[in-house]
């Protein structure tokens, strides 16, 4: 099956500092050579610490941030340099669900206007037709018809996130970027929204790029997972493989830091020292080497490429000679 989204050597640099005319200016390399494909109907998750570039990745593939280099192909079409006007019809097919349902809904608008906004922008539909579509969408995400007249402040966090999802789905998109869609929600509500996303994916045949830091949620929802560190993908594999047979020391450390809700379980922890380095001056070679317990002098020499280390399993580490700890044992 051909990919719905192909990202090739994608770069997004932000200039920082510098004097007049950009002298002495430095670049924050938020994305630095990211390549992957998303297959139709799959959920690909992107995980990593804050500052790893996962949010920038989501925004750049939707062309909400302009890429500095590389290529983005959506449903076979190169969209890297398309104009805003040429992008507009494509926008129907790719939508975004935001993290914070308190900040991403206009407090002055009714739920109906919020959900109908994409229809109004894209045009060509009557008022009655709009109302019908909104009612359909609200039902789809598990809200009642009477919620259409409410305003965001009258809704709970979970209901607001449902509104955000309804807005994203009203144009019948094929591809959704969900940027931390459950992390602002209460624990008992998170499971409801995760279930809703999975159900909608099945029902509507959606493809989802899921950006998150909660590994338990990611492990549950994903088909495949990409692990990012300082603007690069360091490992990519099927979800189960990544939890049971990690090949990159960063994946090992990140996954071993995730707390497991079982007090009788005592794991050998790999505790990372220090923080993620500044993306303005990343370490040479493998950016993770400064915190890696397996680092060798050779790690500083060149950026390790993402290599296939097993079927569909890619890792960017030169140490093939080490055995890493799985974060969970096979049940």
């Amino acid at each position: 099956m051909s990919a719905i989204l192909e990202v090739e050597n994608l770069r997004k640099w932000f200039p920082v500092g510098g004097g007049l005319f950009g002298r002495g200016q430095k670049q924050v390399k938020a994305l630095d050579g990211v390549s992957f494909t998303v297959k139709p109907g799959e959920i690909l998750s992107v995980v990593g610490e804050s500052g790893s570039g996962k949010t920038t990745l989501g925004r750049t593939v939707l062309r909400l941030a302009e890429p500095t280099g590389g290529a983005i192909r959506f449903e076979g079409q190169d969209i890297t340099t398309l104009s805003r006007r040429a992008l507009r019809p494509l926008r129907r097919r790719m939508q975004l669900v935001f993290q914070d349902p308190f900040a991403s809904l206009n407090p002055r608008m009714s739920v109906e206007r919020i959900v109908a906004a994409p229809l109004i922008i894209q045009g060509g539909i009557s008022r009655a037709g709009r109302q019908e579509r909104v009612a359909e969408m609200l039902q789809l995400v598990g809200l009642q018809p009477h919620h259409a007249e409410r305003h965001p402040h009258e809704l709970s966090g979970g209901q607001r996130q449902r509104v955000g999802i309804a807005r994203a789905l009203i144009m019948n998109p094929s591809f959704l970027v969900a940027d931390e869609p459950v992390s602002a929600l209460d624990v008992s509500i998170q499971a409801q929204v995760v279930n809703l996303l999975l159900e909608l994916k099945e029902r509507l045949g959606l493809t989802i790029l899921f950006i998150a830091h909660d590994l338990a949620v990611v492990g549950h929802i994903s088909d495949r997972i990409a692990v990012m560190y300082l603007g690069r993908v360091v490992e990519l594999a099927e979800a189960g493989t990544l939890f049971r047979d990690p090949r990159h020391p960063y994946t090992e450390a990140l996954f071993s830091a995730a707390p497991i809700p079982d007090p009788t379980l005592r794991r050998e922890r790999v505790i990372l020292q220090g923080d993620i380095p500044s993306p303005i001056d990343p370490p040479s070679g493998c950016a993770f080497r400064t915190r890696c317990r397996h680092a060798l002098p050779a790690c500083a020499a060149a950026v390790p490429p993402l290599r296939e280390v097993g079927p569909g399993h890619f890792s960017a580490c030169i140490r093939d000679d080490i055995t890493l700890q799985a974060s969970v044992s096979t049940p």
Binding site: V187, H220, P259
Partner: protein, 339 residues
């Protein structure tokens, strides 16, 4: 370690907190009782509006004064001389010394709780010199020792750093250093790792555990993350709509939760060991967290409960029962459900 009565550092009994709002009086917290022993970690678990943060602010006497807010019940804290202090009736001047000396607090977002225009060193030495008779130079040395203790590298250089020059994890370490500066016997940590990455969270949890072993201080850890609870808690107190609904040691609580809300919470967390198996829908708790200003009648959890019985759960407010193995549970039907 077998605990004698001298090992009890904090005793809270029938704590109730009411706020006066435009819509009239509302009970934020009622009937909260627990005690805390030396070296123990009590996790307070609950969702937004469950009253966990308000409870901790009451222990510190940091809530607004009457008539905006009324606090009743009793909070007794062991003083450095071994006697018990009645926190709710201490004069404010005395309370100021108790905060820091006997009980300290670490907040969720270190960026908003540190002063952005003062150096880390100035903020720590200020706390030290308020509580201990120490010169500037000696206080500086003490600050370096504390920063070192919480694992901040190049501690001496950090004294002159401003909060924005530190990363989130380092700021939280600085906050902990400040909270520890007067060697409190009780530390309240209100979601101290929620804003941090999991890798940094692991570092901070590790640090708290190590400090606790060294000093024997007791910790009240407020969180909604059940993974973190499993990792650090000795005992767990689950709160819902301003009340304690279950209290037990950590292992029995995770192994056999008694209150349907606790059961639902534990079930709704995806299991890492099943990652990638797509085992079907997560079992979610239906409905929404209740509005604390308008709690449902009877048991506050009844509209979301799978064991709800009409005419009973929505009428009668359940009392906190004590089980034979010394657990506490607030549910009319817990013994039927457990059977």
């Amino acid at each position: 370690m077998e605990a004698g009565s001298g090992d009890i550092l904090l005793e809270v009994e029938k704590l109730a907190i009411r706020f006066r709002t435009h819509g009239g009086e509302s009970a934020a917290v009622s009937d909260v009782s627990f005690c805390l022993k030396r070296g123990e970690t009590l996790a307070m678990v609950g969702e937004s509006g469950s009253g966990k943060s308000v409870t901790s602010l009451a222990l510190m006497r940091l809530l607004p004064k009457a008539p905006l807010c009324t606090v009743s019940g009793s909070v007794r804290l062991r003083g450095k001389d071994g006697g018990m202090l009645d926190v709710l009736s201490l004069p404010e001047s005395r309370m100021r010394a108790v905060r820091g000396d006997n009980v300290s607090m670490v907040f969720q977002e270190p960026m908003t709780s540190l002063n952005p225009v003062q150096t880390i060193g100035a903020q720590i030495t200020e706390t030290i010199r308020l509580h201990r008779p120490m010169g500037r130079r000696a206080a500086d040395e003490e600050a370096v020792r504390l920063l070192d203790l919480v694992g901040i590298p190049a501690a001496r250089q950090r004294l002159t750093a401003y909060p924005h020059q530190l990363s989130g994890g380092m700021r939280q370490r600085a906050m902990i250093a400040m909270a520890l500066s007067c060697e409190p016997s009780v530390l309240i940590a209100d979601e101290p790792t929620t804003a941090l990455d999991v890798t940094i969270q692991a570092q901070i949890l590790d640090l708290l555990r190590r400090l606790q072993e060294q000093t024997g201080m007791a910790v009240i850890f407020i969180t909604h993350n059940l993974g973190v609870v499993a990792e650090i808690a000795d005992r767990v107190m689950v709160m819902y709509a301003g009340r304690v609904v279950e209290q037990a040691d950590v292992v029995p609580l995770f192994r056999q939760p008694l209150m349907p809300y606790t059961q639902g919470l534990l079930r709704s967390v995806p299991r890492l060991d099943l990652a990638g198996r797509r085992t079907g829908a997560l079992s979610a708790i239906r409905g929404n967290v209740p509005d604390p200003r308008r709690p449902p009648p009877g048991c506050a959890f009844h509209p979301r409960c799978d064991f709800f019985v009409g005419g009973r759960c929505d009428v009668q407010a359940p009392a906190l029962d004590v089980t034979s193995d010394d657990r506490q549970v607030r549910c009319l039907r817990w013994s039927e459900i457990a059977a």
